[in-house]
């Protein structure tokens, strides 16, 4: 990631001529998909309530449920590891690979592994990790990070992808026709099949951890997760502690809101449930590991942002966010983007370094409206703003202005004096600029950079209202 700040990254993104049409396509595709899925399923709102309750209960009981998960998974033959942070999780994954002579691993899309920068760590240990989700494969070839939690390459056009493939697949005939999406998918499939057949290990994330049986549940649309988890002799799953649910019934309810909110499908194409490891003579990995990743989650659970742990990573809040639609995911500068990323990134990467993220929101509330588990995202962003204010992070000018406004508002005469002065100032400016204020040297002239301001027609309402009491 670049060292630039959010505003510069957003500026660059908004001036990228190819990004805007890609984001527009994404927005209409996902928004329509979700709206149609909700419309043809009358119980959707009720199911959202249940999913919201289930997720909150799971987080409330998280430590106990995780212990049950550990006991049941271990009994079924899975090896359970606990990682306090990213470094520990990476070290555990690398050690398992080393101990088993793994040189080449295939991976399915996993935000947890993005969060801990696993691929880079494995590469340093001499282990090659190949992404098998099409979008992840593309951005891996380009050395980028996902710009959307469920559609990692959403910022790219098919022309970008063709160019990437030509550069990466030098062994294929340069004259081949890969202009269309189907041709691109076909080419990726050929390349990935090689990887599936030769990998020593498969690394996945997890969509849910089911405590009552110690089962890992994964969803996908490309079928690559099945292969990643079961084709190689060794499987490593990495999951945030928040992925826990108690029962299969709970998992079923969450599944029914997940795909509808994410892509507008009634159900994702594949749901993979893995319990234990394969015995001698059975198909599947002979060794199965799960790394349970804390990385700040326990701390979050104890904070006023605990509800964020209910997130099921569906992406609906991104798909409906006007800020995300303008800037795309890379502007956020972290693993996660959109409203959920603006809540999570300050936790993972520091509030001071990411103070823009909770502020870059109009609190329009659309994210909360579509979130399947009803996370009050604007309220959580507000909590970050309160933390930032308490830590003195906002610029001095802003803090000074707020303090002045507070002071003025505490005595009505001061408020009236301020209004009177402002009204006079604006009317004079308007008169000077011939009726319309086109430049106003307040807040850097930012309001009038793209807007005209009509000066007040006269003195303030309160000063003219007769008989005020």
């Amino acid at each position: 990631m670049t060292a630039l700040d959010f505003k510069s990254r957003a500026h660059a993104a908004m001036n990228d001529a190819k990004l805007a049409p890609a984001l527009k396509r994404m927005k209409s595709h996902f928004q329509t998909g979700r709206a149609m899925a909700a419309a043809r399923f009358p119980e959707f709102e009720m199911l959202r309530d249940r999913a919201a309750a289930i997720r909150r209960r799971s987080i409330a009981l998280m430590p106990d449920l995780l212990e049950r998960f550990e006991a049941n998974a271990t009994a079924a033959g899975m090896q359970v590891h606990w990682a306090a942070d990213a470094a520990e999780a990476c070290a555990i994954a690398a050690r398992i690979c080393r101990d088993n002579g793994v040189r080449r691993a295939i991976k399915s899309k996993s935000m947890a592994t993005e969060e801990i920068h696993l691929n880079a760590h494995l590469a340093r240990e001499g282990i090659e990790a190949i992404e098998t989700d099409l979008g992840e494969y593309i951005i891996q070839l380009r050395g980028e990070r996902p710009s959307h939690i469920i559609a990692p390459a959403i910022h790219l056009s098919k022309e970008d992808v063709a160019e990437t493939f030509r550069a990466a697949h030098g062994d294929l005939p340069p004259g081949r026709d890969i202009a269309e999406r189907t041709a691109l998918v076909k080419e990726a499939r050929v390349k990935l099949r090689e990887a599936f057949l030769t990998a020593d290990a498969g690394i996945t994330g997890a969509n849910m951890l089911i405590a009552e049986t110690g089962t890992i549940l994964l969803v996908s649309n490309e079928g690559n997760i099945d292969l990643t988890a079961t084709a190689p002799r060794l499987h490593i799953a990495i999951a945030g502690l928040d992925k826990i649910v108690e029962s299969w019934d709970d998992a079923g309810i969450v599944l029914r809101v997940l795909a509808r909110s994410a892509t507008g499908q009634d159900m994702s194409s594949y749901v993979t449930c893995l319990t234990g490891a394969a015995a001698e003579g059975e198909a599947g990995p002979r060794q199965s590991h799960i790394i349970l990743l804390d990385n700040g989650r326990s701390a979050m659970r104890a904070s006023n942002k605990a509800e964020m742990l209910a997130c099921i990573r569906c992406g609906a809040c991104l798909n409906h966010c006007p800020i995300y639609a303008a800037t795309g995911g890379h502007a956020y500068g972290g693993t996660y983007s959109g409203p959920m990323g603006a809540v999570l990134t300050p936790l993972f990467d520091g509030l001071r370094e990411n103070a823009d993220l909770p502020n870059a929101s109009t609190f329009c509330g659309r994210c909360q409206e579509v979130c399947p588990v009803r996370i009050p995202l604007p309220m959580l962003l507000r909590h970050w703003r309160e933390d930032a204010f308490a830590a003195g992070i906002p610029p001095r000018g802003e803090r000074w202005g707020l303090g002045l406004w507070r002071w003025a508002g505490r005595a009505n005469w001061r408020y009236r004096l301020a209004t009177r002065a402002a009204s006079l100032g604006l009317r004079l400016t308007g008169w000077w600029q011939r009726g319309t204020i086109r430049r106003l040297p307040l807040a850097g002239g930012n309001f009038t950079a793209t807007r005209d301001m009509t000066p007040p027609s006269g003195a303030s309402f309160q000063s003219r209202w007769k008989g005020q009491r």
Binding site: A10, W405, A443, R451, T454, W465
Partner: protein
């Protein structure tokens, strides 16, 4: 029989930038059968609250509560400031703070203007001429207060307007209080997408119940050289030119 009283909380934006909205709202409340009282008032505290300055917001909320709590009904010609009082004020105070019940009482008595007029209808009269208009819902009215049908019903009942739908109506206009000066580029992008959708309706006028959205969109339209005029719903219903 003496008329019941209703307090008008005019909002600092209308107070300063468009006093006509205050006068129009006052005349509507009167026509709905109430005596309008305008107690001395300031800002609801939302700028501080949204900037993370909860203590500052609390101070401003206390001033507003003290000014407004003696009224049975408080009317606010803005979904944003109305939502601040009706939905957020109680959260500013801890459960054992003596201000908490006062905030809750005020919250339960505060109505956004179109909510108020839906409950206390205006007498029938001649329909104000309006032509083809685009109506923009502020995010706070739509999502915080659930106000969607009220303004449309009022416009249909009291004007001859034809309301044309704006594409992608659920999207925010990009105002967001200080957001528009903190993130001017993103705000301008959101505003210009909204004004493009408004221009595509062929409406001659943009009407909304929140002055913030109107100043943002009206200012953008004007800078673009668009002939589309803006009007607050209070001005439209009061039949102001």
């Amino acid at each position: 029989m003496s008329q019941p009283e209703a307090a008008l909380f005019v909002t600092c934006l209308a107070d300063l930038m468009r006093p006509e909205v205050g006068f129009a709202a006052a005349s509507l409340i009167q026509r709905a059968g109430f005596t309008v009282v305008v107690p001395r008032q300031g800002c609801c505290g939302q700028p501080n609250y949204n900037a993370g300055d909860k203590a500052g917001a609390r101070d401003l909320a206390k001033a507003a509560i003290a000014a407004l709590e003696r009224f049975e009904i408080v009317v606010v010609p803005s979904g944003s400031c109305g939502g601040m009082i009706a939905k957020h004020y109680p959260h500013l105070f801890e459960a054992d703070d003596p201000w908490r019940p006062r905030a809750e009482r005020l919250a339960s008595r505060t109505l956004e203007l179109t909510q108020f007029l839906a409950r206390h209808p205006l007498p029938d009269g001649p329909k104000a001429p309006a032509g083809k208009i685009a109506y923009h819902d502020s995010c706070s009215a739509r999502r915080e207060l659930g106000v969607l049908a009220e303004p449309r019903a009022l416009i249909a009942a009291h004007t001859d307007a034809e309301i044309v739908p704006i594409a992608d109506a659920e999207s925010c206009c990009g105002f967001g209080g200080t957001f528009c000066v903190k993130y001017p580029e993103i705000s301008a992008r959101m505003a210009s997408e909204k004004t493009a959708a408004i221009a595509a309706t062929g409406a001659g006028m943009l009407v909304a119940a929140d002055l913030g959205c109107l100043l943002n969109l009206g200012g953008t339209l004007k800078r673009q050289g668009s002939p589309i005029a803006i009007k607050h719903i209070a001005e439209l219903l009061a039949g102001e030119p």
